[in-house]
Symmetry: C2
Subunit: 407 residues, 2 copies
């Protein structure tokens, strides 16, 4: 276990934890692919989840190459990743409750804790010192020291009179050293302020709606929005004014009364914000919806090739890229945000699962699971410029995320 820096505010006591901290001997883990030089910048690095193999591939976006692989990371179906503030380490959240810390410079696993039985993603605090994991079983949030993976705090998601614990979803970081998350079973949103990591201050918002299933934070860190599986509409909390409570927006958003078959609930993290408008996946419909962020009203609807899963804005906001649920998951469409028209349909191949833009938007990485490929496209010409072999790739995460709020 490597500790590169120590916290300025070390926790004075650590709550008792069920988690098992597994110390991994660094030298025993050889990377599957060689890494030439550990002395290099980390700003152009990233990872690709190889979901079936339980490994991640390390990529670099300057030459568009794979440069390393780290194996034995457990169940990486539905895995997600956040980065240390220096961009060197990726924290990989596995579906099996495993939290792995991997070193992008040396392609080594440097820490792993099997912190719960079943988890659904995580976040890193604004100051980079704390990593939080959202758990299904046991339901709650656990918080770890980003340097050592030592346990720092445990927040059980208890609700009701009998002390039942709820599954937790939609965990994000927010300004002010806060984490925000939703309770699936309880229908609640919680804000945890970790300014004092030993004494998390919790604010609970109850009756926010039935079965929140996913959530997002707007890129400025202000609005937390949870999707509701059990009813239409979305629950929105203004983190500048939490005392105003949760309000319901976009009442028609959701499965609706038509009982359309929904092949995959869209990811809310996939909301694209361009200027003052958000482009969001319709549920069940072959459409991307346009929402005015001042009024939270729908102002447009763009017909697309299938049921959208991720709707992602190019960093300059001029384009939105969309992928789809089965049976249209071989297609990617590009929308011009000025005309709200689809300007290109691409067919990268079967099983397009995720997309990630390079931070200044010149290229976008697309995972094509059933071709065992990651494809890179030039966003000006919309032409493919590189193809990288990958084993059943799903999520793609670039280290520039270290510098963004609410991921």
């Amino acid at each position: 276990m490597i500790a590169l820096w120590t916290g300025r505010r070390p926790p004075t006591r650590w709550p008792s934890m069920l988690a098992v901290l597994v110390l991994v001997p660094v030298l025993s883990l050889a990377p599957s692919l060689p890494v030439d030089a550990a002395e290099r910048g980390t700003g152009d690095l990233g990872v690709v989840i190889e979901r079936a193999a339980g490994s991640v591939q390390i990529i670099e976006t300057s030459g568009n190459h794979a440069i390393g692989r780290i194996t034995d990371l457990g169940d990486l179906s539905h895995a997600s990743v956040v980065f240390s503030r220096d961009g060197r380490y990726a924290f990989v959240f596995g579906r099996d409750g495993g939290l792995s810390k991997v070193d992008l410079l040396t392609a080594r696993l440097v820490g792993r804790t099997e912190q719960a039985g079943n988890s659904i993603g995580g976040a890193i605090s604004q100051d980079g010192r704390l990593v939080a994991v959202a758990n299904y079983e046991p339901g709650g949030v656990r918080i770890f020291d980003a340097a050592t993976l030592a346990p720092v705090a445990d927040i059980p998601a208890t609700y009701g009179d009998d002390g039942a614990r709820s599954k937790v979803i939609g965990l994000v970081d927010a300004p002010g050293q806060r984490f925000v998350f939703s309770l699936w079973d309880a229908g609640e949103i919680w804000i945890a302020d970790l300014s004092d990591p030993a004494e998390p201050a919790i604010q609970r918002f109850t009756d926010i709606g039935t079965n929140p299933y996913d959530a997002l934070l707007t890129p400025d860190g202000r609005y937390y929005i949870a999707g509701l599986f059990g009813e239409d509409g979305l629950a929105m909390l203004d983190l500048w004014h939490p005392q105003a409570g949760v309000r319901r927006i976009l009442g028609g958003y959701g499965r609706g009364e038509e009982a359309l078959p929904v092949y995959k609930m869209p990811h809310l993290e996939g909301w694209a914000v361009a200027g003052r408008r958000a482009f969001i996946p319709a549920v069940g419909h072959h459409a991307v919806l346009v929402v005015d962020l001042d009024t939270w009203q729908q102002v447009g609807q763009i017909p697309v090739a299938g049921q959208p899963v991720f709707v992602m804005a190019r960093p300059d906001g001029r384009q939105v890229w969309v992928n789809f649920a089965l049976p249209h998951n071989h297609i990617v469409q590009v929308i011009d945000t000025e005309t709200n028209a689809v300007v290109q349909s691409l067919e990268p191949g079967p099983g397009v699962l995720h997309m990630e833009f390079e931070p200044r938007g010149e290229e976008v990485w697309v995972s094509v699971r059933d071709r065992d490929q990651v494809q890179v496209y030039d966003t000006a010409t919309l032409a493919p410029v590189a193809t990288i072999p990958a084993d059943k790739p799903s999520g793609i995460f670039l280290s520039a995320r270290a510098h963004r709020i609410g991921l």
Copy 2:
């Protein structure tokens, strides 16, 4: 000279250049301060310009320390910096026309070219492969390979019938591998498309106003705005629709008819964009102006302690920090962007020259020239948390800028 990667689109021919390329033997340059380990992430690094000494100090924002110094960089009054896309290298633009490439990992100067007699800043292309410098003498823009500093293209800023050359200011990168800049003497804005580096495609916009003295690009890369020294109002070009030409906005913005003494023309790069509003320094007045970015109309005016120089938004847009010209350059004020009220006046000391937020906004770095200090403030408590000695510090630049558009 170290070439870490080679371009995918190498220029097929290089124009003849007056520039002198100085190859620096790497091993002969020992850093002034030791750097422990070159194997580390680069996402939390940055540089502080030491203007009088002609040096830069390397800093890291995780523990808030200085970790190295690089000397002999020439005249660094009014110096600026951009970063390589991997965050490892800083390109330092000196007032004397020197372009220096420094390695943040080893604290070494790895390349330097004295490319002109007098220059005023630069930019790095969207793909990170080209570095452009705006020159006063000889007037124009020169473009270099970011890996080698080899000359790639020369764009003389000629105008009028006699082939006179204009000083160039306000150079920024824009999406689509473009650079945008203004011609002080000519009153023109040019867009240079470097998609083919050997054949820059130039678009000229003439009669944009008298003596553009500085410019900015909105954070989304869409609007290029030049300030006019010779008249009131600003010249604005929509890069999504350059064919629509330059239009004049904010007719009252500038020195005005009152002939107020202006102690320092404010920096336009210091415009703060928070949501759909920009907070901009009034010229000559003790005020920050609030401008609606949809209508380009002034919608508010906030009284402040002096003539503002830099007006900078915290990355989440909730705060704006302001520093001032003499005789108020010992003060920094913090504005709440929701109430448009000054919520705190700080006195870091005489000669506050620049401020830089950490990318997720938890801390801000402030250079205090006449105290030979850089001070770091917690933006939640507004309390100082660290002080770093520096020799007459001016500009502060963090490597997260590598991932932003229009700097």
